[in-house]
Subunit: 128 residues, 2 copies
């Protein structure tokens, strides 16, 4: 579970579930799009294919971003933090990163004010 991805020389510190948090940022605009989790296999596949992969804690499975919606992420760079337990993917986002149809998952203030326009309607993107 804690197997190191092939392509990294920095020994990542996975949590007790074998995961690290991944911050996802638009490589062009700098906008923070979402946060997700990755295991070693997700990081390996991301590096190998250039398509962002994560590990779903709720579904307990590996997933490729956009596999259902088509809203994929092309990963331009992966950075690791000083503690070696968090990653930053810099991506080219196709469509909306958020499953609610917004470009970013971070589209509301703490008081609920919506700070972005909805790009797509979720019912047009997801079949279930």
């Amino acid at each position: 579970m804690n197997t190191q991805p092939d392509n990294t020389t920095i020994p990542l510190r996975f949590n007790e579930q074998g995961l690290v948090p991944v911050i996802v940022q638009d490589a062009e605009t700098g906008e923070v799009l979402m946060m997700a989790w990755a295991n070693a296999e997700a990081i390996r596949l991301t590096s190998l294919t250039g398509a962002a992969h994560y590990y779903s804690r709720s579904r307990q499975k590996l997933w490729k971003k956009g596999e259902e919606s088509g809203h994929t992420q092309q990963v331009k760079e992966i950075l690791v933090d000083c503690d070696e337990d968090t990653l930053l993917y810099k991506v080219i986002q196709t469509g909306a990163a958020c499953h609610t149809g917004y470009k970013s998952c971070f589209h509301r203030t703490l008081n609920g004010t919506v700070t972005q326009k909805q790009l797509v309607r979720p019912e047009d993107v997801y079949t279930k």
Copy 2:
């Protein structure tokens, strides 16, 4: 432990330790600076004072960013994600966000290539 901060109308979903991850971004440049954790009290103090507060999992205590180093963060905006379990602080960073003296904690690729200049020497900032 899961007490809601006073100032938010969105019911945050804290984890079993009563914490949410916080992504910290430079409000001016868009650079992702660090990731930390916050409990309800840290969020309340951040909103109240405008100075970034977090909860240290290793030290098990609330901390104000820069309380030792002087490298404080003035929080301009707090956003919440669609799942209501992750925050984004947009901040004006004084000095270096990273305890290693780099502006951002994310200053290395997976292969260890350093992508930034060190701003300060940690031994000049921290007394221990």
